[in-house]
Amino acid sequence: MSTENVLFDAPGPRARLRHNVLTGVGVLLLLGGLWLVYSKMSERNQLQGYQWSPFVTDSAVWSDYLLPGLWETIKAALISMVLAGAYGLVFGMGRLSHLTWVRWVSGVVVEFFRSVPVLLMMVFFFFGWFATATWLPNQYAPLAAVVLGLTLYNGSVIAELVRSGVHSLPAGQAEAGLSIGLSPGQTMRSIQLPQALRAMLPALIGQLVVILKDTALGTIVLYPELLTAAKTLGSGYANTVQAYLVVALVYILINYTLTKVAGFVDGRVKRRQRGGGGAAPLPVTAAAEG
């Protein structure tokens, strides 16, 4: 059901006229915005060929700057995602444990890391720990800080997803497991978790978008990711504005694709759910902030 059907009647002649006027206003708004950007850019000589052409003609722009930066971004995001998944699973199950103290400790850990900004963690891990650590080769210090910060925050978000995924299952699932003689732990592992994980899948992909965006914070702890690459590229080729715009486009394309994939998986999970019961998918949008 599309939203306009809920809010609006089918338009009559007067409403159609009003819509046409509003369409005109919208087009003016769009053109006005584009003109503003164009005039400001040309006023400051930002539309010169030499600032834009390197992205197409000079392969060094990609091979020496942007692609290595993109690789570092993706590397940090993937490592963090895997570690955050493991962490989230452990603490999510901890929050569901039948032992009070386990539940309590996991709850405190998860709530703490969820309410501390990722950047504070990265900054502290980097300047306070990894940058001066003797056991860690110096070039890995920024990566370690970025990954640890992202893991602790996103792992805690995933732990909450695990918990709400299990809670959203019909109570009969756990009762059936217990009544055929499985222990609470076995019921959790072989009945509840698999279903909860399937319901979580779209939200997990949404979380990957959050992680990917947050790797850009790495620029503050000197991690040579995509945003840092844009900065060096911009000062090397005297095209800062252009470099940032192109890199923004790269981020948008990747994240938009991931969001679409999440939506697709969401639809599949919903279809399967209609077919044979089980857990409803958790909402993606709630997790996609940060």
Partner: protein, 221 residues
């Protein structure tokens, strides 16, 4: 520990956090509401504008927006808020936080509208309410109730994201100040916990409050 508290203006940094949060939350709410109206309007161009904005901004890292506001917009396009560098960075930080979170506010409001079953609008029409009446008496009250929880989590995300302003505000902001203290005085877990505690105090009660309010307001279906 006492030295750190007296030598560095930690409270001042958190005051900046609170200022940034309040100012940009107001900005994000206004802009996000306009965008949400665009996105649910029956006019195709406005819907396109709304969804283009949301898809662009939501998929761009906030850090990029912050850096671009200074390195790109202020230095090269020459659109400063103030000739004084720190004032300029402060206001650009507010603007970029508002611009970024407006996309999430828009989606929160839209998801509130989406919680309304079509039967509600149909029932309102069939008892003879006009368009304005059904919007005012039936649809919008339900939409706002449904939007409380997602709006609340956007606000909490915004408060935490003010730390990203450290890339342009430096030590005036809490994350920048923590970096400076840790670099100068060496790592100290208590210092980190003071900063972390500041954010726990700012966000945790808010989260608990919002959950209980949204439960109380939830429309039983």
């Amino acid at each position: 520990m006492g030295d750190i508290l007296s030598n560095y203006d930690i409270l001042g940094a958190f005051w900046v956090t609170i200022q940034l949060s309040v100012l940009s939350a107001v900005g994000a709410l206004v802009l996000g509401t306009v965008l949400a109206v665009f996105r649910v309007s029956p006019v195709g161009v406005l819907r396109f504008l709304g969804s283009f904005y949301v898809n662009t901004v939501r998929n761009t890292p906030l850090t990029l927006l912050m850096l671009f506001s200074i390195l790109g917009i202020t230095y090269i396009l020459q659109i400063p808020f103030s000739q004084e560098a720190s004032r300029n960075a402060y206001w650009w930080a507010v603007v970029m936080l508002a611009v970024y979170h407006a996309a999430f506010v828009c989606e929160a409001l839209r998801s509130g509208v989406n919680t309304i079953p079509a039967g509600q609008a149909e029932a309102a029409r069939s008892i003879g309410l006009t368009f304005g009446q059904s919007l005012r008496e039936v649809l919008l009250p339900q939409a706002f109730r449904g939007a409380v929880a997602p709006l609340g989590s956007t606000l909490i995300a915004l408060i935490k994201n003010t730390t990203v302003a450290a890339v342009i505000l430096g030590t005036a902001e809490s994350a920048g100040l923590l970096a400076q203290i840790t670099e100068n005085e060496g790592a100290s877990l208590p210092t980190f916990f003071i900063f972390a505690l500041g954010f726990v105090i700012l966000t945790l009660p808010l989260g608990v409050g919002i959950t209980s309010v949204s439960r109380r307001l939830a429309v039983k279906r």
